[in-house]
Amino acid sequence: ACKCGRSFTSPRLLPPTRISPRTRSDVDEGLQPDAPPGAMLARRTVGLVSRGGPPLTPRSPPGRSVQRMMAEKVLTVDTMNSCVKKVEYAVRGPIVLRAVQIEKELKEGVQKPFSEVIKANIGDAHAMGQQPITFFRQVLAMCSYPELLDDDRFPEDAKGRARRILQGCGGQSIGAYSASQGIECVRQDVARYVERRDGGVPSDPDNIYLTTGASDGIVTMLKLLVAGEGRSRTGVMISIPQYPLYSAALAELGAVQVNYFLNEERCWSLDVSELRRALADARRHCNPRALCIINPGNPTGQVQSRQCIEDVIRFAAKERLFLMADEVYQDNVYAEGCEFHSFKKVLFEMGPEFSSTVELASFHSTSKCYMGECGFRGGYMEVVNMDPEVKAQLTKLVSVRLCPPVPGQALMDLVVNPPQPGEPSYSTFIRERKATLSSLAERARLTEQILNTVPGIACNPVQGAMYSFPRVTLPARAIREAEERGQAPDMFYCMKLLEETGICLVPGSGFGQRDGTFHFRMTILPPTDKLKILLSKVKDFHQRFIQQYS
């Protein structure tokens, strides 16, 4: 994958520190307004004098050798954990930091060719105006403030849910720690949901772990999987393009990232032949043990066919790979003829030869689908066929972080156990859910359609998830200029787009792509009218850019 060079970690791209009046002098001293956090305090404390307070025990100041020693910090880029330095996360990376800076500048009255920054970089539906599901928020409000249980504005079914959830909480409060694995009745409800979703395939609540968003579960599993040294160091297969949480976690763990390329010409489908190639290559220098797949895909938006999922399972079984199925977008399926098939369901339908042997972890979250409740950090993972001793270690490992936020657990309970036909809240719930999902489907279609009218931009159908990942053809001159600046060409392109239009996208290099190709990821989340404006601005920008650099 094309790396973005030094500019990612350059302090210049970090946000300006908030300058309180006390420290105006630091600005006058010429400190860069976009210095990284911490720099201000480091500069500021040089001038600090003891500010009174009770008299200290008289003591001679430290000797000169100690003073010299003290001048070198304990924690520097040389003494810190070197793996951490390799971590990058484009979704909240330099381009976003620049976008935040621009927002501040706009607020301060700086003139720009646009009046607002549009953050089409992050899969945050509510930020773009999507409304929460009423029922969920009613129940959660009552869980937080149980006095509301006697309020007539809330329907009986919502009250019943709130009471049930509170019963499962210590001291009947969402402020109590839950068990590390998650509130028991919630895990039971998750298991029932999974069974219903998968046509009756049994699910054991003991195999369900509630997590802080899906990311928590994914990182925990990777921690368990990564071991070995040198040639036996664990390799983890991940799609290119991928969601950069995976690459970040693998970098921090010092694992080997084994890339398998999705097929852009065929709508980002997964070819088992490519899996084989990647695996064979990897075996020469590491010990590949896991295969991660995101379905529906992020950033690519493809929804894998059932056949493809079977092929992947067969491959994992044959090559003895632990399967990690990231299914957080499972309700976000838009395209005709596409359908979400859970890995677990397909696994079990393939019969005992596979269903009793293939080790699988599936991940879900409250952040996406029709809920879009990112701020709750709700999620779960289900483990299948995990070795019991490993599972004991997993249970121990999750206890280190105590427990996931209880409101997120409560929300997950409602997601897996929504209003049923006949219940008072059912019709509103269904209406809201349908409206959200069909609106997303429409925006997915619109995005693909409009982007494909731009010469030099090619967008695969957005079959699911929340993003388009179009390919952009960049003129050679632009590529050269980018390289001279030490920037990835698509970062150069996106930065210019941001500065000229206020639209924040994430360059494809942040997700990985075939060498010599360039992409950007844009969410489909802005409301339809805004999305149309956005897309036309992107179109205009692209045409200007091509002209400027041809």
């Binding site: 970690t9 951490v84 001291g171």
Partner: protein, 442 residues
């Protein structure tokens, strides 16, 4: 780890027992122990969750304005949106002002504050920066004994080495420099000590460090080139009227240069303890002092991979930092609830200490702060014989659980000096009378 708790749960299945119900006083969880949440906190949260409540007459006017302000800070005015990586800027700002007020005006910068999922996530974030290496290069972190089992687990799960330094029980669990020097010198033979973890007020031991003690520790850290990790989550729980919580940051600042501008410090706090007790909401933060700016950039990137802290937890922190003030509609009720809570906890701590000290074979150092009592068990030789291959204090706990239905924690979870045995009781409970007779008679 929480084995008594597992026994506890296993026992609930309708067995004949000489007691009616189980009382778990082993865990540091106020709400589970029966303490009620603070009304204002929950009203604000419910209004943020369901903004239609803002139009009702149900909620006081200051609750509504706080909720409206918070919602305005959120993208799309929804608590369901992600926030900035380090938290909502307004809440970072509230925290920085809270810290500055607490520290008698020592400046605090919002950009040095990272809002995290409980202090535990913050601790792990900082440890991940440090901990690496193998053999003699393995990062070591000095940790107090008795210690926080969670911290020890976190450290070992990251592959770090624990460098234990014993607190001095006879002196009321003080930190002794001679002991810390001994521990460090020993550790340097087999690992690379880089950090010094202190807990003040103490967990589980409940000591509150004097300003002089903190200065000594800071000086020690400076001389020995150790990064200071100051776990101050119990700062709101000081029971002894003669003791005062003073933050490491304030002392560092008051020591002046070169200490104040060189010693690297990370201070941790949380909404899980103190008068809020909102453990389940997962709101915590770390404030960095004198962190290298290049390292700070990496901290930010690392933390960004975890998206952001749950918004409910952030809201709890905002209220902790910026509670209702005199004149606000909710002030009187709020103040009363907080005072009641504080009085209950202070009284409990006193009574637990008195009671435990009155029992034969138990001695308890003064509980100056924190939420636990950590008495020493002076067991007869027979009990120490370890028949079941079980640590004596764990055996005691199991017997106490089976015979009296009282769940307390064994000292062995926290590590302790060889051949000493302790128990951990939480002092949080609102209903002390039930607990005392049971503990007494046992």
């Amino acid at each position: 780890m929480y084995k008594p708790n597992m026994l506890f749960h296993g026992m609930v299945q309708g067995l004949e027992r000489p007691f009616k119900h189980l009382i778990d006083i082993s865990l540091g969880d106020a709400h589970r122990g029966g303490l009620q949440p603070i009304t204002f906190v929950r009203q604000v949260i419910s209004a943020c969750l369901y903004p239609s409540l803002l139009d009702s007459g149900r909620l006081p006017i200051d609750v509504k304005s706080r909720a409206r302000n918070l919602l305005k800070q959120c993208e799309g005015e929804s608590v369901g949106s992600y926030t900035a990586t380090c938290g909502l800027p307004k809440i970072q700002h509230s925290l920085s002002e809270f810290i500055s007020r607490r520290d008698r005006g020592v400046p605090s910068s919002p950009e040095n504050i990272f809002i995290t999922s409980g202090s535990q996530q913050a601790l792990m974030l900082v440890l991940r920066l440090f901990v690496h290496g193998k053999g003699s290069l393995q990062t070591g972190i000095m940790t107090p004994v008795p210690s926080s089992p969670l911290f020890n687990m976190a450290l070992s799960s990251l592959g770090g080495a624990m460098v234990p330094y014993h607190l001095c029980e006879e002196e009321g669990w003080t930190l002794r420099l001679d002991e810390m020097r001994r521990a460090l010198a020993t550790a340097r033979r087999h690992c690379n000590p880089m950090g010094l973890y202190v807990i003040n007020p103490g967990n589980p031991v409940g000591q509150v460090q004097s300003q002089k003690s903190i200065e000594d520790v800071i000086r020690f850290a400076a001389e020995e080139k150790l990064f200071l990790l100051a776990d101050e989550v119990y700062q709101d729980s000081v029971h002894d009227p003669t003791a005062e919580f003073v933050s490491y940051k304030r002392v560092l600042h008051e020591m002046g240069p070169p200490y104040s501008n060189t010693v690297e410090l990370a201070s941790f706090n949380s909404a899980s303890k103190g008068f809020m007790g909102e453990c389940g909401l997962r709101g915590g933060y770390v404030e960095f002092v004198n962190l290298d700016s290049a390292v700070m950039g990496h901290v930010y990137t690392l933390f960004s991979t975890e998206a952001c802290t749950a918004v409910m937890g952030q809201i709890a922190l905002d209220i902790m930092a910026n509670p209702p003030r005199s004149g606000d509609a909710s002030y009187t009720a709020f103040f009363e609830e907080v005072q009641n809570r504080r009085n209950t906890l202070n009284n409990n701590a006193k009574r637990v200490q008195e009671t435990l000290n009155s029992l034969d074979g138990m001695s308890c150092q003064p509980i100056r702060g924190g939420i636990y009592a950590f008495p020493q068990l002076h067991l007869p030789a027979r009990a120490v014989a370890k028949e079941a291959g079980v640590a004596p204090d764990l055996l005691y706990c199991m017997l106490l659980l089976e015979e009296m239905g009282l769940c307390v924690g064994p000292g062995s979870e926290h590590l302790q000096r060889k051949d000493t045995h302790h128990l951990r009781y939480i002092t949080h409970l609102p209903d002390e009378p039930i607990v005392q007779p049971r503990a007494n008679s046992y």
